[in-house]
Amino acid sequence: MEPQNDAQILKDCSPYVKFAKLDELLALGRANSLWPLTFGLACCAIEMMAAGASRFDLARFGAEVFRPSPRQADLMIVAGTVNKKMALAVKTLYDQMAEPKWVIAMGNCAISGGPFVFPGQYAVIEGVDKLFPVDVYIPGCPPRPEALIEGLLKLEEKLTGKRRWPVVTPQ
């Protein structure tokens, strides 16, 4: 009998074996209850606050519970420039968060160092993905609160595989 790989076995068995939906339930739970860490670095943090405020209201998606302690947060929104002095602290915060955890890199600085990168620069980290894995990148300098909400929906999509609202393309 020829050797089969795991995926093949699973595929062959799939008509007969039904896997529990627990994973999907957990994913749904996690996606709809993303508690961000209260962690603002620079300009983008103000837009992050604006996204939590009345007009945009992250609470609609259950994501307004900003937890000041990394232990209780699910989502780290890196909102601003990370420099070499700060890098260790950001890394520590990420390590202190309980699994499962996600990271949104908000703004150009967090994505790539943004406008603060030039030949011979001595301070900024050129993208937080050099420190830890990033799930969603939101470009902008700073991104609008709508963009942050879109990023959050993208993260939910990544978790559940389903998109909450259809994507609106500009006319």
Partner: protein, 146 residues
């Protein structure tokens, strides 16, 4: 001291060699170039005359082999900005601290030390201020390479 508005002249300590500057073009009323060892004395005089320390900064004149330290002062009661400049050799940049006179100078001097490597003799704590704790480089020197 020559020229300028007499009312303003009266506010300045007479022993510092202030020269009037065209405010409309430069944004400063008086400037004085003093010897590096006179800095503390000048600061004490300005403090006595009620000036506020605006900022301390350095300029790296690499071509001339010099570092310039610029002390900006202003008054709270009227528009009167003065700058005091002192030049020190670039290969041994050392100047006395004025943090004993103006405690607010502490951070400005630390920052200037960070950026230019200018040592402020007698400063209580010249550890890096804006740069990482273990930084040994001085990025605003003109010959700095990252």
């Amino acid at each position: 001291m020559a020229g300028g508005d007499p009312a303003m002249n009266a506010k300045l300590p007479p022993s510092i060699p202030f020269q009037p500057v065209d405010y409309a073009a430069k944004g400063c009323h008086f400037e004085a170039v003093i010897a590096p060892d006179k800095v503390v004395e000048a600061a004490a005089l300005l403090d006595g005359a009620g000036f506020v320390l605006d900022t301390i900064t350095g300029v790296d004149w690499m071509a001339e082999g010099q570092m310039e330290v610029i002390y900006d002062f202003f008054r709270l009661e009227e528009a009167l900005r003065v700058a005091v400049r002192a030049r020190i050799p670039r290969d041994n940049p050392e100047i006395a601290t004025i943090s004993g006179v103006y405690p607010g100078a502490n951070w400005h001097e630390r920052e200037t030390h960070d950026f230019f490597g200018i040592r402020f003799a007698g400063h209580p704590d010249l550890t890096p201020f804006l740069l990482p704790e273990d930084a040994t480089y001085h990025p605003l020197r003109k010959d700095f390479v990252a």
